[in-house]
Symmetry: C2
Subunit: 523 residues, 2 copies
């Protein structure tokens, strides 16, 4: 390539950094193996196998960590990057293509973070998390927070230690947030969440004062669990989730995990007397699954083959679950099928009643079963509690009381026990502090992206009404999935929608949708 | 401890070699992870995930291999062992206790073998085997040997290479045999197998000339597959297989795998029109599973926590399957339960008829479904073919013809296609040359051990008749399972039965059992 002035410009490509990506690939394979061990722990592992499994997972994670911080990687990175600042050293007459530039930026991000954590700390944290997760499951079953408390203390002290290792400007919690959502901080999230809260709380009040009473009793009749699973599978197939490269299994908590774009697994749970649980968790996890199946296999093992952030990941699951899965268009097509599957239970419920029932707003104890509106209030209380725990303002033993008070404050209801209160979520048991806020980010991004899809895909709602979901899947793959970590979350949002994260689309969407369902008059 | 002469004798224990066992433990955890990846590949992995999985498994196996041959392990071993000869260096005034002595002997065995194989060879072999296994499955489905041939060639050339690396005296095949059955050679097996054949072939002839015609048609009626699985599970529980530390799943080929004594998994397969397949593979794999669950958890990661050889392992599965599971005593208790499970199909068949039906001798195409007698003839033809392949006397492309000719020679029948002929077994696809002979060794050991159990456990047959199988399980655990690799296979046989492997108990057992069933007159 010739540049003005007559010099020859050498373009550096992924080929240039092949020594580096080969090593990253090995590390990714170890991480994928560890991910399978975790998937198995949640799905099929016999109970007796837990302790040995914790050690196996932590051994693999320790090895992966050691390999990432090895002098080998350091040497290969140092050839192109200033190891202090992470700045690329562009030599005159040289240029990097965009994939390689992004790759080096992101590898340096991973490397420099990993480098701050001693390998034995990584092994200890992994083992303690794996064990705590099992104790949490027992404690939740027994609805006994005290059982889980010693493990929670251990995890908390390790996570505070981790924040110290990683470093931060304002709060140790920022160091943890950044792991899940690159660039996010308390300072950025607080006003954003305040803005959301300022619009959601009055909306919720109006809904609660509305004379419209939605009857969703039909959704809690008896539904054969096998048929529920079959229907979940059918919807996943319609979404374009590829069962040749995926599976649907049962687990206590629905989740998605990926070992490679050719092996991406989702789980669900199914309750005889709750039609929504299996159905919407299939759609939700399917959204996650499509993202992971849509990553570019050629980049597997590198950041370009990895999802960009949890917030963006959650935007995919929430878009499918809510913007699509709780829309009129979607159910115009799928409700007759659902009725045929459960004629006795749903025969008397017409499509409009069903649409209202699945969109009923009602403050409830369990986050994952919350409606679109109150869901974010669940997140906000966790966001506050997490900060207080990590910053040391709250004693872990006081958690159940604090939880219950905040539930009353935010949602006007009080859990009757720990299982439906502070013990309901698995996250803290595996050390995921700073994870919850990404759920609300996902909600906000989901509508911002979906409205862009509506603008760009001709007659999208018509297609959805006809059960044709593939065009949306393709759009998401082209616009978001296949890019991996090529762009930062913010850059990606700008590329796709022309602007950074903006809560307005989400807020207008819920005000319009629920205003109509609950026949609310203008403010 | 004081020894004659007044010197103080220092006894070295496992504590002395703790640095070594800590490293072994890490390696075992990696191997256990790889084993889970393989289990998943055979049970739940979506088809698209195969290529990535092959790479993940080979990455882990490569790392485990590298760690085993690391200078670290070498240094730790060299402190106690002459690295050339493997002889222990006993310093005067020192003594090792038996566990430590055995541990060092066996670690040296593993280490010195691994040391002979370059790490990149291990990775290549692992990847090629994992891929070949998937191609074999497709080829078998299509009953098309040509599809599998290229992979078989690759595997064969790698296995010959492996034999060269490992070294041998008489035949490269000996180097491969020794991996599965320490100490076994063609020279030792050939006369043993000849002796077995010399007694089995005339016995088979007499049976085929017998006027007794056994009608087993009832076993091939329609049996609900879920009920079959439930019955298999019931028998496993009665055997003492612990479902808190294990699982039963479906796979194309039944197998047992262990990630730790607290997580040992068996698989089976189930056919609607064949009652025996699921039933006896559950009992068979259950025998393997009891061995792995019976290993001492304290020794996990060291050879003392590992099974001693495939022949001994198979003795456990065959003992449960045949000595117990095809005995009158066992079915006195379990047949009424089986009849209740399938009243329509089995109502008219009395216990004695059922006993005869499950012991019907009939040359058949498929090894795993063969009766106790003809089973060993299946092994012998594989033993001969393997030698010829490894020693280069046979071209892989000629295999189907050779297979069919030998089937006719040994069993008087000829497969109609590759699927029921040369493609029936998975073993060669994952590089397991030298594995098949251990099945016959297992058959011989099983009766030798079982007759010892009958001598030592008071009223064993009575107990089995009452459905009480636990005492046998405990005896096996005490006598065999818990010792791991403390003793060599031969030493173990001598400890348990007072003598080395002896085909006589097996031969007398089948002559007596089938003589009675087929009402054969004395020779």
């Amino acid at each position: 390539m010739t540049i003005p002035g007559g010099d020859t410009l050498t373009v550096k490509t992924l080929k240039t950094v092949e020594d580096l990506t080969t090593r990253l690939l090995e590390i990714q394979r170890i991480n994928s193996a560890a991910a399978l061990l975790s998937w198995d722990q949640e799905t099929y592992m016999p109970t007796g196998g837990g302790e040995a499994r914790a050690e196996q997972i932590s051994t693999l994670q320790g090895i992966a960590h050691q390999k990432l911080v090895s002098p080998d990687i350091e040497r290969l990175l140092a050839a192109w990057i200033d190891s202090e600042t992470g700045e690329m050293r562009d030599s005159p007459g040289d240029a990097w293509d965009e994939p390689s530039r992004s790759l080096l930026r992101e590898v340096w991000r991973d490397y420099s973070r990993a480098k701050k954590l001693p390998s034995d700390f990584v092994v200890t944290l992994s083992r303690e998390c794996s064990l705590a997760q099992q104790v949490w499951a027992e404690a939740k079953k027994a609805s006994n927070f005290a059982m889980f408390l010693p493990n929670l203390r251990t995890i908390l002290s390790l996570k505070r230690q981790e924040a110290q290792y990683l470093g931060y400007k304002d709060s140790p919690y920022d160091a943890l947030l950044d792991v899940y959502e690159p660039g996010s901080t308390i300072a950025a999230l607080r006003p954003l969440f305040a803005q959301v809260k300022a619009r959601l709380v009055p909306l919720l009040q109006k809904i609660q004062n509305s004379s419209v009473q939605i009857d969703d009793a039909a959704l809690f009749r008896s539904f054969d669990v096998t048929r529920q699973m079959e229907f979940g599978r059918l919807v996943l197939m319609a979404m374009g989730y590829d069962f040749e490269r995926g599976r649907l299994d049962l687990s206590a908590h629905p989740f998605t995990t990926s070992f490679h774009p050719t092996d991406v697994r989702v789980t669900t749970r199914v309750f005889e007397h709750d039609l929504q649980s299996c159905l919407f968790s299939c759609i939700h996890e399917g959204g996650h699954g499509l993202y992971d199946q849509g990553l570019d296999t050629r980049y597997y093992g590198t950041p370009l083959g990895d999802s960009v952030s949890l917030g963006i990941h959650e935007s995919q699951s929430r878009m499918w679950e809510n913007c699509v899965g709780r829309s009129r268009s979607f159910w115009r097509f799928f409700y007759p099928l659902l009725q045929q599957t459960f004629p006795q239970q749903l025969g008397a419920l017409d499509g409009e009643q069903f649409y209202a029932a699945i969109n009923r707003v009602k403050p409830s104890m369990i986050r994952v079963e919350a409606d679109e509106l109150t869901y974010n209030l669940h997140i906000m209380l966790r966001f506050e509690i997490e900060q207080d725990l990590i910053e040391g303002r709250t004693n872990p033993e006081d958690l159940p009381g604090i939880w219950n008070r905040k539930m009353e404050e935010y949602l006007g209801i009080v859990p009757a026990n720990d299982a439906e209160g502070v013990l309901q979520d698995v996250h803290w048991s595996f050390g995921a502090f700073g994870y919850f806020p990404t759920y609300t980010l996902g909600n906000l991004y989901s509508v911002q992206f979906y409205e862009q899809a509506q603008r760009e895909i001709p007659r999208l709602e018509e297609k959805i009404t006809a059960g044709q979901l593939m065009e949306l899947r393709r759009w998401l793959e082209q616009k978001i999935h296949r890019w991996g970590r090529m762009f930062t979350p913010d850059h990606l949002a700008q590329r796709v929608t022309g602007k950074s994260l903006d809560p307005e689309p989400f807020l207008s969407y819920v005000e319009k949708k629920y205003g109509e369902i609950y026949r609310l008059t203008g403010s």
